[in-house]
């Protein structure tokens, strides 16, 4: 709780400095949130040029809207929210985002694994396979998985960023994990043949 209050106080100090015209303070805000914003942009946007333009747009938008930031959430969450919605808006401009369109039938046959699956997953270049297989998931699933597992955000924090109901986030996370696991295992079975 004290850490949380400390964080809010630091956020407030940084925001006030920026509002007084301190550009160095804004550079600090960029440095503090760059990893989160980059992760969201990379997971949601495929085109590299678009990513570079969008990430700058996000921080410019954050700068121009900083006077309206009311410290109801962490500054990083607020900037994450801007990132998510800016990317979503960009995707919607190009084509409608649909999770269902990417859904695949998931095999529920639990007995199809060979004995060494677990060890195989550790032994193989799991990071490389995971990167390839994650990229095949819908952007929304990729974003949710990354926010939860890599950024270690709670479902509530993800809710604040995405605006999705908690139940929807949990359900999407559940389905994304199953899809990813099935893809990893089918990858394993192919190599095992």
């Amino acid at each position: 709780m004290r850490d949380q209050n400390n964080l809010y106080a630091k956020d407030k100090e940084l925001v006030n400095k920026v509002l007084r015209g301190d550009r160095g303070a804004f550079a600090t805000i960029i440095k503090n949130t760059e990893a989160l914003v980059t992760t969201i942009v990379f997971k949601m946007i495929q085109d590299n040029r678009d990513r570079e333009d969008l990430v700058q747009d996000i921080f410019l938008k954050a700068y121009h809207n900083l006077p309206g930031f009311r410290h109801e959430a962490k500054l990083s969450t607020w900037i994450g929210q801007i990132s998510y919605h800016t990317c979503l808006h960009h995707i919607e401009k190009k084509r409608p985002i649909s999770v269902e369109a990417h859904e695949e039938t998931i095999s529920k046959d639990q007995g199809s694994l060979s004995n060494s699956t677990g060890q195989w997953l550790y032994r193989k270049d799991l990071a490389g396979i995971l990167k390839t297989e994650t990229a095949k998931l819908p952007p929304l699933y990729q974003t949710l998985l990354t926010l939860f597992h890599l950024e270690e955000m709670s479902v509530d924090e993800i809710r604040q960023i995405t605006g999705l109901p908690e139940g929807t986030i949990k359900s999407y996370l559940y389905r994304a994990r199953i899809q990813l696991k099935e893809r990893l295992l089918s990858n394993y079975e192919k190599e095992d043949l």
């Binding site: 509002l19 015209g21 550009r23 804004f26 550079a27 960029i30 440095k31 760059e34 990893a35 980059t38 992760t39 990379f42 990513r51 570079e52 990430v55 700058q56 921080f59 410019l60 938008k61 700068y63 121009h64 809207n65 006077p67 309206g68 529920k108 639990q110 007995g111 694994l113 004995n115 699956t117 677990g118 997953l121 550790y122 799991l126 990071a127 995971l130 990167k131 994650t134 998985l145 990354t146 597992h149 890599l150 270690e152 559940y174 994990r177 199953i178 990813l180 696991k181 990893l184 295992l185």
Partner: protein
Amino acid sequence: MRTNHLNEEELQAYALDPEQTALEFRSHIQDCKTCARHAEAYRAMFDALKTQQRPVFKFDLSGAVLKQLPEKRTERVKKGLLLYGCALAAFGILGLLSFCFRQHILYWFEGVSEPGLLIIVSTAVVIGWFQIKELYRKYHRQLTELDFYSN
């Protein structure tokens, strides 16, 4: 003792935090090779997700953004000055009118004791101050929201 296999939800919960999982699930996983393999697959996947390489941009993001920021917040300062100017002018006009029509104003309060007058005036000032402040905050919030969605 649970005899049927754990479902995907239970396997995910176990892989995320085995300690928080019900004892019957844990003991089932210990005895059931199929569930143990699935749980292990989830666990390996979660570990890999947690340690995946973070993407990075190959250009100086901070420098690129700072270059695009307006030189100074002059517009903001101008807006602030305009607001204070208006408030000062309003007070000036009000003061002048009060001075010109002081006889009439004093007539309204004839018979009211000095402490009573003080209470009336200070209450009116406080209420007025909060009303103006709220009005400005609301206006500022609406402008910010408009700005946010139009950017």
